[in-house]
Symmetry: C2
Subunit: 309 residues, 2 copies
């Protein structure tokens, strides 16, 4: 049985240590001194064979030297990724979606866009939204319940695992709120008017995931993440239904069932964090019943040593 702190470790396995002392390379672009991601030595070695990249062994940096604008940098990195696809360098690139994620600089400006499935090769921060729909505790003393989705077994990442009611990445050009509206409809058939009126922004969680067997692709790739979290109280007669082939089914679970599923590690790692954060915010997990309460809360909001959106 996993403890709540184990659940955090599962999704936040990157050590709280200097990345250079871990042998990692700092991903930068020419003309900007900020580190945008961490790159494994094996990936860095490969990248240095492609035009436009410069590895400095002493500084432990891997710098994209091609391009001076967002468009030029994005095109250069796309070219590299396509060339790596062709050479079948990484199985993770088989997940090509032709959808990009933005990477931000120190003033929240976009520095470049990277194909979604390639982000863990460069160790850049990715952004997502998670929505938790729940039925508030009725006056008759019954408890709140939470709508949980089961991911399609065919999904390339975390197939068959439990997930938030709806979730998705914030793609280039999108805002968190637009992504919420889109995913609530697409993944859970939630009425757009209800979502627009009652979905509430309640915070964010951050974690630094080290990819493992469950995520598919190469093990050990680095994935710092931010999830914008939203809550949606729904009426008792509302039923969440899959609206695409990403979700297999929905279940309305009691808090005790959520906690049991967490301890069996049934949740997708970062969705487990979102669930823990929900249970803390709603007074279910407290300092009275969780000995690692404060450690868990700081871990759920881990500082990431990169510029954030």
């Amino acid at each position: 049985m996993a403890s709540n702190l184990d659940i955090v470790d599962d999704a936040d396995g990157f050590p709280y240590e200097d990345p250079k002392s871990q042998g990692l390379y700092l991903f930068r672009v020419a003309g900007l001194s900020t580190t945008l991601g961490y790159v494994l030595p094996s990936v860095s070695r490969l990248l240095s064979d492609f035009p436009g990249w410069h590895v400095d062994q002493e500084e432990q940096t891997i710098v994209l030297e091609s391009g001076q604008t967002v468009e030029e940098r994005s095109a250069a990195i796309r070219k590299t990724i396509l060339a790596m696809c062709e050479k079948e360098c990484f199985s993770i690139l088989r997940g090509w979606r032709d959808e990009t994620f933005p990477v931000f600089g120190p003033d929240h400006e976009v520095v470049l866009h990277i194909e979604r499935c390639a982000c863990p090769l460069f160790g850049v921060v990715t952004y997502g939204v998670h929505i938790i729909a729940y039925t508030p505790a009725p006056a008759d003393g019954d408890m709140m319940k939470i709508w949980v989705s089961r991911r399609a077994r065919s999904k390339q990442t975390f197939g068959g695992m439990l997930d938030s009611t709806a979730a998705g990445g914030v793609a280039s050009g999108e805002t968190p709120w637009n992504t919420v509206l889109h995913e609530c409809d697409e993944e859970a058939s939630l009425p757009p008017d209800l979502v627009r009126r009652d979905a509430k922004s309640v915070g964010a969680i951050t974690n630094f995931y080290v990819r493992d067997q469950r995520s598919g692709g190469e093990v050990g790739l680095l994935q710092p993440e931010c999830q914008y979290v939203y809550e949606l109280p729904v009426p008792l007669d509302l039923v969440c239904k899959p609206n695409d082939n990403e979700v297999e089914s929905f279940e309305l679970l009691a808090v005790s069932e959520i906690m049991a599923a967490l301890s069996r590690r049934e949740f997708k790692p970062n969705s487990g964090l979102v669930m823990l954060d929900f249970l803390i915010r709603h007074g279910v997990v407290t300092s009275e019943n969780e000995k690692d309460y404060l450690n868990i809360i700081t871990r759920l909001h881990r500082p990431l040593d990169f510029p954030l959106r």
Copy 2:
């Protein structure tokens, strides 16, 4: 006009850097390798003149060598503090309350107890609770309002500043929940039955405060803090009233008034963080209207490099 990020900086001014490179000494006790606090060089020099203390200049540690049990260590540190009082070493010690705070070790065990007003000399983590009572948004479209207290001008720390509805330190032998029950009655005359039934644990914030003019006593002393946060929805006809001489008055403020008071820096520093955290949790401050949203959220839950309660 202070930004929300300025409000965070006010309460969380300790640099995210190695304490040793900042010239600080690591406070430890004999037989335990964990650092329990950070000590200014000036304080460390003074402490080394008292019996039972050993300074290692090379390791930059200041170690309490007297005592092998909680009681012995607490007695030894009390003796030192009383001797410093007598010599009038620090004006901060004029705030002597004869109330202690516990300091925790790596397994959440108490290592020693320290007189409350002396904690910033040793830079140990202190724990408090903050309760925010609010009137939920009624169905007529009106907005939620928040009960805010104004601290007595006579208070030695942060006199006259705005504060949460009720707040207080979690003293030795107390739990956060008992402190909530106690402070809600003592500071705001909130009915104990209402608090017991409706107050909800909703999380915690952490910050590392560097003491300044507003806090009274020596400037620059170090104060890492954890605040357990509770919310209490109250009926529209409830009125918060001072019940002791710590609070001057109460006001029921609209969200817009809270934000204006924050930007005028009217809130006690850590209470400003609690208020920001509340506004984030209730969908008032969001990624759409706050450009530093993610930075603020990670800062509000800063990791503290000490064992936590």
